[in-house]
Symmetry: C2
Subunit: 200 residues, 2 copies
Amino acid sequence: MKILIVGATGLIGGAVANALSANHEIISAGYSDGDVKVDLGSKASINAMFTAIGKVDAVISTAGLAGFAPFNELDDAAYDLALSNKLMGQVNLVRVGQDHVSDDGSFVLTAGILSRQPMPGSVVISMANGALESFAKAASLELDRGLRVNTVSPVFVKETMVKMGMDPRSGLSAADTAKAYVAAVTGNMNGETLDAPDFA
Amino acid sequence: MKILIVGATGLIGGAVANALSANHEIISAGYSDGDVKVDLGSKASINAMFTAIGKVDAVISTAGLAGFAPFNELDDAAYDLALSNKLMGQVNLVRVGQDHVSDDGSFVLTAGILSRQPMPGSVVISMANGALESFAKAASLELDRGLRVNTVSPVFVKETMVKMGMDPRSGLSAADTAKAYVAAVTGNMNGETLDAPDFA
């Protein structure tokens, strides 16, 4: 398969690219580097990316901005960023990308466990993640040509936890997290939320 | 209690007002009628509403716009309306309203079963509902002064189904739907999604 990975230069995206590159052709996309540049906050930029790369068999997104902050410190801009970038950026990958993906191809978006297991500071991330899970479930009913869309729900990545001085035992390595993306893109599920620990 | 009901002139909101008015003082709010007018799509309008009514003990929302349409007919405006009105309108009731609700007061927002049981045409509604459920769950961890926030997840309302020529047997009457709102506002739950059929 020819697989576009948006966010391939990130920690999870890099691990996904690693896991898939032996058997598939990877096109990496990122905000500032990769085979092609894309600004998830801009539908025009997403359009330009798909026009530049031509037909692909799958689109994986491990990207999308949304910030941690205490509820009472979240301003309008924090809500806007989560909704326009992490949520609509990934939604627009499906809206725009469906015309650039071959029959029976698939989309894998990144939500996260904070939708169902929030923590203080996660309000806008939880909100975007919950929206993404429900979006994929709903959109999966209507995609045609055998297209599929699923979300992966990662937990904290061990490497990030170590860097942040957190105890990494509750986390999952980037390489283990990547297994859920591989399962989603090579499997037959549609409209599902894949909890990363279930595939590690 | 002094309870603000946003959407009190709607089918569910009217039934909630009916159910609560024997024991509580109701302030009704709506876009075009009610004791006070409010445009959920405008944070300034929400601010003005709370300033006008003074302190309340609870805020119930049965309002918020989001439209049914096939996935491939949803334009940017359809996404914007769901996110800015049904989602952020209700989120802003909590963000703005928390300073106008008395200690141990609560918020009850309206999501809906389409977040977890979508149907063709429900993409933006499903997305907004999923976001609302996760928002309430996350925000409930951080509200202070004993404030609570929950969502009610209604199914189709029988009266609406009859009007639309649908078989109403899978639906719930507005009066039965109202029971979940009464439970949320008079109970102690926090961060929960109350499935309306569980309270009918």
